[in-house]
Symmetry: C2
């Protein structure tokens, strides 16, 4: 099994190392090419993904036909439409590989089996989702309190490598602005 | 111990009923009067709260001195500044009782003890935070794709009792509009 998930699990819960060998059989290892879809809006969502290497964006199709990115995931993050995953229903979102992306995928049925056999892993997932929700609370604060330009500067300051890594039209979508306006904001910063 | 948390735990994880008696000693039962603060921005945040009865809002102070509500919590929800709670640092948010509110409070130290003694509870918290994060994903979608007026109609359709329950100036703050504009939207709907 790839070490990335093992390391992440060991760092975040008290699973005994000899139990970790069990993990392997529950996951499917996959590599998605750049622009390939991990999940399509309107399809039943029965998997969640741990990113070993790469980057994905979560988006939905707006009424005007454009894709609205609402989130990204990079190494050591989990991604899915979690409402659809836990209810095993049709997804409201698509997930696409922004670059070549290596993942471990697990279905909800397999996760149930895994947690029955290794209940200690719930401690890991409790931590994963508490951190994700905590980050969402801070993001809501940013969305209410800042202009789009301030949002860009905030992300640029906190995650400079990430800002460089994702295509600028996706970053613009995530910030809720046009690529042209993003370009203007960046020029202003330089001048 | 109050039955609300027991029922919520039993409904969401496989804890054996005879273990549940243990829970009681880890929580502090409190009743907050309307407008009393459960947590103050700038204070160390070392507790999270399960709402037995009542309603709270999570807010922060904007630079112009007004309070920006970013979330509410009602019966069977957990509330806290979760980033500050897990890092045991100063809070970015305040939490206030919107009406008389009965809670069970637990500190991060006590939660660690509780999870050591009842590791099965991590399954419960995994579920709690996965649902909370899933709801946040959908809320981000709504924030990107809808006008403030559409947001009001969405919440009014999905949570009509809640919309009636919270003071309208807090609902306006949550929607990111002025109370006057909320009033206009509601009038338009009636006429």
């Amino acid at each position: 099994m790839n070490n990335a998930l093992l390391t992440h699990v060991i760092n975040h819960c008290a699973v005994k190392p000899d139990q970790l060998a069990l993990l392997d059989s529950f996951f499917e290892h996959r590599i998605y090419k750049k622009n390939e879809l991990l999940l399509s809006e309107g399809q039943r969502c029965h998997e969640k993904f741990f990113i070993i290497k790469g980057c994905t964006n979560l988006f939905y199709l707006k009424q005007n036909g454009t894709e609205q990115t609402i989130d990204f995931a990079i190494e050591n993050w989990w991604t899915s439409d979690f409402m659809a995953f836990q209810q095993n229903v049709v997804s409201q979102f698509s997930i696409r590989a922004v670059e070549t992306t290596e993942v471990l995928a697990i279905t909800s049925e397999r996760q149930q089996d895994l947690l029955r056999q290794m209940p200690e892993l719930s401690e890991y997932f409790h931590g994963v989702f508490q951190r994700a929700y905590a980050a969402a609370q801070i993001r809501f604060k940013l969305l209410y309190g800042h202009s789009k330009e301030e949002l860009y500067h905030h992300f640029n300051q906190k995650f400079p490598a990430f800002i460089q890594r994702v295509p600028q039209y996706l970053l613009a979508s995530f910030l809720g602005i046009t690529p042209e306006y993003l370009s203007e904001i960046k020029k202003k910063r330089i001048s």
